[in-house]
């Protein structure tokens, strides 16, 4: 099995490792770095539980090889809160009961953070629903997830707007 050296910046820290070329980014995060907040829920890139942000884009880390992320900056659920204070999206998920079992939550939150970055504070429910179509949740029926994302997005509006 051929191996490669990689250097990836994860949540602001550069991580170097020698990995099998076939290693998936999600397995690199979970098994090599112990960042088990990113989850694996399927094997066909359908569920989105493994969503992380790679160079500003939400990606399903089960569909990216670790070697493909060479030199990239990656943000995972573990890198979202600033110390003790939660990211507004994490806060909104708690306030709106947007999670039950919590397994899809890290991927859902990363996708949500990224969609609000891309669509801005005035994003509407239909766009949120469309953008989260690739993140499956079996517990919430999405109702409270969509509410949480809209609330977190709206909270980003500056008072001047």
């Amino acid at each position: 099995m051929s191996q490669s050296e990689i250097a990836i910046t994860v949540n602001g820290t550069e991580r170097r490792a020698e990995v099998e070329d076939r290693l998936l980014l999600v397995d690199f995060l979970r098994e090599h770095l112990g960042l088990t907040g990113t989850h694996v829920g399927c094997d066909t890139s359908q569920c989105g539980a493994c969503t992380v942000i790679l160079d500003g884009q939400a990606v399903k880390s089960c569909t990216v090889l670790a070697v493909m992320a060479e030199g990239a900056e990656i943000r995972t659920i573990e890198g979202l809160a600033e110390g003790e204070s939660l990211h507004p999206m994490q806060e909104a998920f708690c306030t709106h009961h947007a999670l039950q079992c919590g397994f899809c939550t890290p991927g859902m939150i990363m996708a949500a953070v990224n969609l609000v970055d891309r669509h801005g504070p005035d994003v509407d429910a239909e766009t949120v629903r469309h953008q989260l179509e690739g993140n499956l949740c079996r517990c919430t029926g999405y109702h409270n997830i969509v509410k949480a994302v809209l609330a977190a997005a709206g909270a980003q509006r500056t008072p001047a707007e």
Binding site: R30, G41, T44, C94, G102, F103, P106
Partner: protein, 821 residues
């Protein structure tokens, strides 16, 4: 009828009395505040119960610090991969592992012969529901049914696609998977059967050589003579046949297990998320033939259950066994494809129903013939049993007769799946009521109104013996219709038609039973620092027990909720407990926690009396402290606890009487008649959950339940190719799921009609969303397509099925388009 008093639901031999108000309630049915030791509840002192408190579980889960099974790693662990049957039915001639064993990193390949040699037993499933109030299901000859031994790895033959026949252990996941592909199995394909209607025939291939037929259960309930007489006298009989299709839970966390063996102590530890660690420990110890003390099971965060995780899986036993043989930790995590093949699946019920009515539309009698497909082995008869007790739904039907059968097939085993058995029979009765209304020319709401069980008849014994505890069924319907804005339907229909869309509305009433394992235990310790630890044997998988249970204990002990910590999921701490299923947790845990709290307060009162030098009866308890009446002396609970002798109380409670959550749901759909695209535009529901401890959580349960029911009605299906017997839904690419963009916001409200069976009046809140949803969606679609002559459609209602139904009814795409313009 003393027999009934003792036994609850009448057994088939009893015959039964006509349905109506229950005047001979079984002993112990009603809650007795004196006998429980709780005494009168100080409802006015509740500070947390009934409040939408934010969940305390959430912080770890939103920061990536959850502890799901696959997150655990043990030093030196190796990985297991399964060799699975590619055939639905095939004899195992031999297994050659030599090529697999030569692959670098492969540690062992184990087969069923090895398991037999090591004396492993089958999983001791106890599929026949056994509480006093479950209907009694028996084999055709009246004996206990043969269930098909569930050995970890079979030696004779594979009985469904995906059945594991060997396990490979290797140093890496990749090596294990590579090696599993190199294991050669000498297969002899056998004829197979997947559908239960085919499986009950005499000519069907037999799943088990041990039995003459595939039918393992054949029981009848109700008063057949009375039913026959009612049908003979009926002004109208409505008939229908339904198949409530097979679906699977798709828990977002695939099942996983990590076994660690400590050779020094001879003890195994299993990290495995489930529906209750206590059952897993008990049954797996039996499989391995080891004392229960030698097994510790840990179940922390569980990524969804919905029934699928309640029973033991072979892989859990396999990693435990392998780790004991190899003296190394062994981990197994299912792929999603494996989950689709081998997670316990749900539903798959054929139901033939007939309803007799008089000329005014009063229901006279019901006949039902239900056939449950249990798969290759019988893991649970809960779906058939639960449904059997509820065939008459929310309606007063004086007489009913049911034949309930269960049958083996060459498919994955079925199990209780969200609202086990109840959505199936709710679907049948609600569709039948709509059919009767149409055939008799009676408004479907008026027909329902005429026949709903009235509140004055509660507690009500239905025609198969279930005792509905409480509820205001007609008020539910009225309230749901108000939430939905029922009177605006015709205007909305016209507006949709203007956009070229067919709009339809479906309403379903439901009543369901929450029974579940009757025993639960709570241990409460109050430390000198005022912190309270509660050990309880339920197992949440997203239901928020750490929050809602804390709300109960905090109010019972009148302390801030932040001080209460709920301990679950470690069998070294939790000695007894029924796990979480059948909506049992809040009711059982709430009751036993209240009892243990009362015990703890009694102990505290004695200590306080001693401390204050006053008679215990002279003390009042308020705000977490005892004080002497008309004195200024008081002492807090924390002050009555010491490190050496903390305030502690433990209580085990057994509670048999079931409760019957109920409600109404209404769905609106819009269908594009040309593309047959279907969208849900509105969904409203009212759920009577009894006392609601945390409305935030209960609403969340309703939402998720609705999505799961809608999912089955619209997209989900464990399809099997009838020719090859191959499952066709092997991944999320070919199993349709509820997604963020195909569901609406829901309008859900809660009704709180308190149940007389337990101290808080709790019913259950986890399954009411699902129970009526299959019916509401289907009825809405049929309402939309009625004008085009469509009278029947089966689930899942995909655009293709709608197109087919319209074509069969003779409505061409052109007709459909022009009809609306």
């Amino acid at each position: 009828m003393t027999e009934q008093k003792k036994g609850g639901i009448p057994t088939p031999e009893d015959g039964s009395s006509p349905a109506g108000p229950c005047t001979d309630l079984p002993e112990g049915w009603a809650y007795d505040e004196g006998a429980s030791g709780i005494g009168p509840l100080s409802v006015e002192l509740f500070r947390n119960i009934g409040k939408p408190l934010k969940r305390r579980e959430d912080h770890r889960l939103v920061t990536g610090k959850g502890q799901f099974t696959d997150d655990f790693t043990r030093p030196g662990q190796c990985f297991a991969a399964m060799v699975r049957s590619p055939y639905p039915h095939a004899r195992i001639g031999g297994i050659d592992a030599s090529a697999a064993l030569e692959l670098p990193g492969v540690v062992a390949v184990l087969t069923g012969s090895d398991a037999e040699a090591d004396g492993l037993g089958p999983i001791p499933h106890n599929p026949v529901p056994s509480t006093r109030f479950d209907v009694k299901l028996r084999a055709p000859d009246g004996s206990m049914p043969f269930i098909g031994p569930h050995v970890l790895l079979p030696t004779d033959k594979a009985r469904h696609v995906g059945e594991a026949v060997a396990v490979v252990i290797a140093e890496s996941k990749g090596a294990a998977e590579d090696a599993a592909e190199l294991v050669e199995v000498d297969w002899e394909e056998l004829p197979h059967v997947a559908d239960s209607l085919e499986a009950i025939t005499d000519s069907a291939p037999r799943v088990w050589d041990e039995t003459a037929k595939n039918t393992l259960v054949d029981s009848s309930f109700g008063d057949q003579a009375a039913v026959d007489a009612a049908f003979a006298a009926a002004a109208h009989v409505a008939k229908a046949e339904f198949h409530i299709n097979r679906v699977t839970a798709v828990t977002m966390e695939p099942r996983a297990a990590l076994a660690d063996y400590d050779a020094e102590s001879g003890r195994s530890t299993l990290y495995a998320g489930s529906g209750g660690a206590v059952r897993q420990k008990r049954e797996l110890a039996q499989v391995l033939g080891i004392p229960q003390e030698d097994l510790r099971v840990l179940s922390y965060d569980v990524g969804g259950n919905f029934g699928a995780r309640n029973r033991v899986y072979v892989e859990f036993g396999l990693v435990l066994w392998a780790s004991r043989r190899l003296k190394r930790p062994v981990k197994y995590t299912a792929t999603r494809s494996e989950a689709f093949l081998t997670d316990y699946q749900g539903r798959d019920l054929h139901s033939r129903v007939e309803l007799a009515l008089d000329a005014d539309g009063h229901f006279l009698a019901l006949r039902a013939d239900n056939i449950s497909n249990v798969g290759a082995r019988c893991v649970s008869l809960s779906p058939l049993s639960k449904g059997s007790g509820l065939i008459t739904g929310s309606y007063h039907i004086p007489h009913a007769h049911l034949r309930a059968r269960a049958v083996f097939t060459n498919t994955m085993c079925t199990q209780a799946y969200r609202s086990s058995g109840r959505p199936e029979v709710t679907y049948a009765i609600e569709r039948l009521v709509d059919i009767a209304a149409e055939e008799m020319g009676i408004d479907k709401i008026a027909l329902r109104r005429r026949n709903l069980v009235p509140p004055g008849d509660m507690p009500y014994r239905n025609a198969v013996g279930s005792i509905y505890d409480s509820g205001q069924y007609e008020a539910n319907m009225d309230r749901a219709m108000a939430i939905f804005d029922w009177s605006a339907i015709e205007a909305r229909r016209a507006e949709a038609a203007g956009r070229g869309k067919l709009l339809g509305v479906g309403l379903a009433n439901y009543v369901e039973s929450s029974i579940g394992t009757p025993k639960e235990r709570a241990e409460i310790t109050l430390s000198p620092d005022g912190r309270i630890e509660v050990v309880i044997g339920t197992q949440p998988s997203g239901q928020g027990h750490e929050t809602s249970f804390a709300q109960v204990v905090a109010d019972m002990l009148q302390t801030p909720v932040e001080r209460v910590r709920i301990v679950i999921g470690d069998t070294d701490k939790v000695s007894l407990g029924g796990g979480s299923h059948s909506g049992r947790s809040m009711r059982h845990a709430g009751t036993v926690m209240a009892m243990a709290s009362a015990d703890l307060l009694r102990l505290a009162r004695e200590r306080a009396a001693e401390r204050l030098g006053l008679p215990p009866g002279d003390l009042s308890f308020e705000g977490g402290a005892f004080s002497g009446r008309e004195t200024n002396r008081s002492v807090t609970l924390a002050e009555l606890s010491t490190e050496d002798d903390p305030l502690f109380a433990a209580r085990t409670n057994e509670m048999h009487a079931p409760v019957f959550p109920n409600g109404t749901a209404i769905c609106e759909v819009e269908i594009d008649p040309v593309t047959c695209q279907i969208g849900i535009t509105r969904y409203a529901s009212i759920d009577d959950v009894g006392r609601c401890i945390n409305p935030l959580i209960v609403h969340g349960q309703s939402h998720g339940g609705i999505a799961q029911g809608v999912g089955q009605a619209m997209w989900e299906n464990c399809a099997i190719d009838p020719e090859s017997g191959q499952p066709l839904s092997g991944s999320l690419m070919d199993y349709g799921m509820p997604r963020a963009d195909n569901l609406p916001f829901y309008d859900c409200e809660i009704a709180e009609v308190l149940s007389p069976t337990n101290p808080f009046g709790i019913k259950a809140g986890g399954e009411g969303g699902t129970t009526p949803a299959l019916a509401t969606v289907t009825l809405a679609v049929l309402d939309a397509l009625r004008a085009h002559g469509v009278r029947d459609i089966s689930m899942p209602i995909t655009p293709q099925r709608i197109w087919q139904a319209l074509s069969d009814a003779g409505a061409t795409a052109f007709d459909r388009e022009t009809a609306e313009t």
